[in-house]
């Protein structure tokens, strides 16, 4: 990362730490949580989809498995949620490894990989809907017992800082991918897999490692979600919406860039709030939520068409032009 990039990142981190002091209403803190949470999940998508070029349409499956692993460990086996959190990450990582080994061995790339992840998430949804341990479509309700030892807090600001910490962890991970050999190998695979292999890169191994990492981080996010909302059901845990959101925040912010998901998530939430408010002002509109999703879809098309590196690409382009001038 350049010096400017570092300054920019440092500044945004300071702003994010200070945010709850400036905007202390519950609404503002929850909005901050949502932005950071989407940015975190988006970053886990970005690690596989952006840095290694493994576009996934079903990334939610790692989130869902993490959410169910920690929740079931707590409710059925009485495991402490902080320890269960670790198992959620392990569960996500294990699934990432399995999906990676199976699909990369079979040589699935591009659209085929995207579709197989979609199908895996669908299998997850159907299984969670049908087996007794997940309580089927009813979902699992966590007993409210707000104590820090219980990973539950009365004050929402705690979850804000937890997800901020996760976000920073994922940012660091992504940053490492821009400066380590592992990251360079992933970039080589993304740009031209055959050439990468010709150079002696074991692309199967690197891709599996990458998906395992991404799945583990994503699984950890699942636990945070359930601890905050105290509820999980199959359509939250394995629904297409979250997969799409992860993909959108990274694509719009800039796939394969460190700050992309954070910027994308911030922009999407601002756009979402604004469209919703504008939509609600229209006569006869009761639910303006779909309007913001229409804007997201249009943004995705626009990004793919004109800005393949997302908003980060816009910054870079301008910087390059400034340097040339």
């Amino acid at each position: 990362m350049t010096r400017r990039g570092l300054t920019l990142t440092g500044l945004s981190v300071l702003v994010l730490i200070a945010y709850p002091w400036v905007f202390s209403s519950n609404y503002a803190i929850n909005l901050g949580f949502l932005v950071l949470f989407a940015a975190y999940l988006g970053q886990t998508w970005n690690i596989a989809g952006g840095f290694a070029g493994q576009t996934s349409f079903g990334h939610v499956v790692f989130f869902g498995v993490g959410a169910y692993v920690s929740t079931i460990l707590q409710t059925a086996y009485g495991v402490n949620p902080w320890i269960a959190w670790l198992f959620a990450a392990l569960g996500g990582a294990l699934l990432g490894w399995i999906v990676g080994v199976l699909s990369y061995r079979a040589g699935l790339k591009g659209a085929y990989f995207a579709l197989i992840t979609l199908a895996v998430a669908e299998v997850g949804r159907i299984v969670a809907n049908s087996v007794p341990i997940t309580k089927g479509g009813l979902g699992i309700l966590l007993q409210a017992d707000p104590r820090p030892a219980n990973f539950q807090f009365r004050d929402p600001v705690w979850f804000y800082y937890i997800v901020l910490a996760l976000c920073l962890l994922s940012l660091l991970t992504a940053w490492q991918l821009t400066r380590t050999r592992f990251g360079a190998r992933l970039a080589a695979i993304r740009e031209n897999e055959d050439a990468a292999q010709a150079l002696g890169i074991d692309s199967l191994r690197e891709k599996v490692k990458c998906l395992t990492l991404s799945g583990g981080l994503c699984g950890a996010g699942g636990t945070v979600y359930v601890q905050k909302y105290l509820y999980i059901d199959p359509s939250i845990a394995f629904g297409v919406d979250k997969s799409v959101e992860m993909l959108l925040v990274s694509m719009i912010g800039g796939a394969g860039t460190v700050l992309g998901p954070l910027i994308g998530s911030g922009l999407l939430h601002v756009v979402g709030e604004v469209t919703r408010d504008l939509g609600n002002m229209l006569p006869g509109v009761s639910n303006a939520q779909p309007l913001s999703l229409i804007v997201y879809g249009a943004l995705l098309i626009a990004i793919v068409a004109w800005l393949p590196d997302g908003l980060m690409g816009l910054f870079r382009k301008r910087r390059k032009e400034a340097r040339r001038a």
């Binding site: 579709l115 669908e122 879809g297 098309i301 068409a305």
Partner: protein, 291 residues
């Protein structure tokens, strides 16, 4: 218990559903075969066509879905053609993932636009013949399902004749096989691609008319069909007509037997499982050429 009678009825019902799936999947496989694009918006476009059938049937017009079939099919063709000309063809830059993302964006827009304008309520149409039952041996089948099965296969047959007997069909096949070569002998490749996309979407228009007498439509209706259609196409082999035909019937039966055997909820697992297994074990499908 699965007695032979129940099993037979399950197979028959599966085949009936499979007929429609064939029609949906033929459109997808044509688009893939010719344009090499994975049309993720396929389910959403089907849903949109189903809504148009619903609105044509509703009060002021009151068109029977079978009567509106030629209109909806033609409209779907025009819509697909324009969509390709205005959006998909321009923005894809010829990259596989790009098209996937463009069509994903398109499906998000379509799904939410319908949700916004038509609300999330499920809509059904009432036709007098919907409850008319016909017995085939131990199985009982609703008349519209039998009609849709026959009509779907007939449309596939016509499409097959179009592809083999007409100049346009030959041009489409030429573009599918060898894009550069087709361009060199003077075929308007871009035009052929837009027409192929239009035909693929026209299949959805016909499928929507055949589906509506026994099915419902809501903004999320498309989701169910996306994975089904991709499974059929993967099973039959990407780009293969024969494959889509056989695959559609197989998937219809798999779905029906899965439901009988594993119950309503878990029975749905058959389709994604078949999809995953096919991609892992035999990615070329039954009739597909090596990728």
């Amino acid at each position: 218990m699965l007695t032979p009678e129940i099993l037979f009825a399950g197979v028959i019902n599966g085949l009936m559903a499979g007929g429609i799936y064939v029609l949906v999947a033929v459109g997808l496989t044509l688009i893939y075969g010719v344009l090499h694009i994975v049309n993720f918006a396929h389910g959403s476009l089907l849903m949109l066509a189903m809504y148009s059938v619903f609105f044509l049937w509703r009060k002021p017009l009151g068109l029977d879905p079978y009567v509106s079939l030629p209109f909806v099919t033609a409209g779907a063709f025009a819509f697909g053609y324009l969509l390709y000309r205005s959006l998909i063809g321009h923005f894809s830059h010829g990259k596989d993932e790009n098209i996937l993302l463009i069509t994903l964006g398109l499906s998000i827009i379509i799904d939410n636009a319908t949700l916004f304008f038509f609300t999330g309520d499920t809509q059904t149409i009432d036709v007098a013949y919907a409850g008319h039952m016909i017995s085939l041996g131990p199985a009982v089948v609703a008349l519209p399902k039998l009609v849709s099965f026959g009509a779907a296969l007939l449309i596939c047959l016509l499409l097959g004749l179009f592809m083999t007997r007409t100049d346009m069909g030959k041009a489409i096949r030429a573009v599918a096989k060898e894009r550069q070569g087709a361009r060199l002998v003077g075929i308007d490749v871009e035009g052929v691609m837009a027409i192929s996309y239009g035909i693929g979407i026209a299949c959805l228009g016909a499928a929507a008319c055949l589906l509506m007498p026994t099915f419902y439509v809501s903004p999320t209706s498309g989701h169910a069909f996306v994975l089904i259609a991709f499974t059929i196409v993967a099973l039959g082999g990407m780009g293969s007509f024969k494959g889509a035909l056989l695959g559609g019937l197989i998937i219809g039966v798999v779905e029906s037997i899965g439901g009988l055997w594993l119950g309503e909820q878990l029975g749905q697992i058959g389709i994604p499982l078949v999809f995953i297994l096919i991609l892992l074990l035999r990615p070329t499908g039954l009739f597909g050429a090596a990728r």
